[in-house]
Symmetry: C2
């Protein structure tokens, strides 16, 4: 998966070939094809691997304070991406190709649902503990934050300027402070 990561960062999604991945991996293309029929099969696996890494990050968050946990998650989804421009670009290419590639779309939807579940759980916990207002709908609030994250990454690709990630972090922070917090 590390070879796929490097190849994807270098070539983007559209120009990525099994050969490029094999070169990064130091194996033949036949060795890659032994495990994955198509480039999309391999990329579905790669998206699942990115999700696992994110879930590891979630488990490593040390605080159980809902506001701080939510802040940590938003940092991970936004600020921590600023040195990963090429990967964010490749992921946006995959999103843009989702309507034409079913397997990619299904895995992207799965990743997004997991991430939304994580946000929703933290928000629901905050409502239960009284950190967030009791009229907050955790489902809607999680979708709101995901929308801000996706918008920030799309703008990051087009503008090639990581300040949009910080702007979005501030927007998400204002949303949490002014809409969610008790």
């Amino acid at each position: 998966m590390e070879a796929t990561y490097r190849a994807l960062r270098e070539h983007g999604y559209a120009d990525l070939t099994m050969r490029a991945i094999a070169e990064e991996y130091g194996k033949t293309t036949a060795a890659i094809h032994y495990h994955y029929d198509t480039k999309d099969d391999l990329l579905v696996e790669f998206l699942a691997y990115l999700l696992d890494k994110f879930l590891d990050h979630v488990r490593d968050i040390e605080t159980d304070d809902p506001e701080r946990r939510l802040g940590d998650l938003l940092d991970g989804l936004l600020i921590d991406r600023e040195d990963d421009y090429d990967l964010v670009c490749a992921l946006l290419e995959m999103r843009a190709q989702a309507p034409y590639h079913d397997a990619i779309r299904e895995q992207l939807v799965r990743n997004d649902e997991y991430i939304r579940d994580v946000l929703r759980a933290v928000i629901a916990d905050g409502v239960e503990r009284g950190a967030f207002r009791d009229d907050v709908d955790p489902d809607a609030a999680a979708s709101a934050l995901i929308t801000i994250v996706k918008g920030a990454r799309t703008r990051f690709v087009v503008l090639a300027d990581s300040s949009v990630l910080h702007v979005a972090r501030d927007v998400a922070g204002a949303y949490v402070a002014d809409v969610l917090e008790a």
Copy 2:
């Protein structure tokens, strides 16, 4: 431009050819090439045409009440796109290809800056008239709303579900009500 619109909706950006545009236009590809050297030249023109249509829409908004103008703009940028799935997909493809196509990137940035200027002007007007809080930074608030719009459209492409546009409209509404309004 209407022929480009139809061809883009049908084929998407990656698979769009000058031939497909010529077929929609009822002319030869030579006739298209007479005006545009490359597909990207034509699409830059098409993006400028979309911007003009948006600015026409802005001029047609009848109210001068800042909150209602802002609401109308957000409706135009979000809800009015729900029947235009294929075009939203083609536009996201162009955004995803921006890092590799300079002319497309420049026009996308120009469009985004115009739209942000329009939002900023309405917000600044609202601050001046006392409809919005006087500690609101119109520049930051416009970027916030653009981030929500971009996120909604990216999610719309991946999920193929227009309810995400309505969710985003609610988020933008909550942002206006809880962060901007006096």
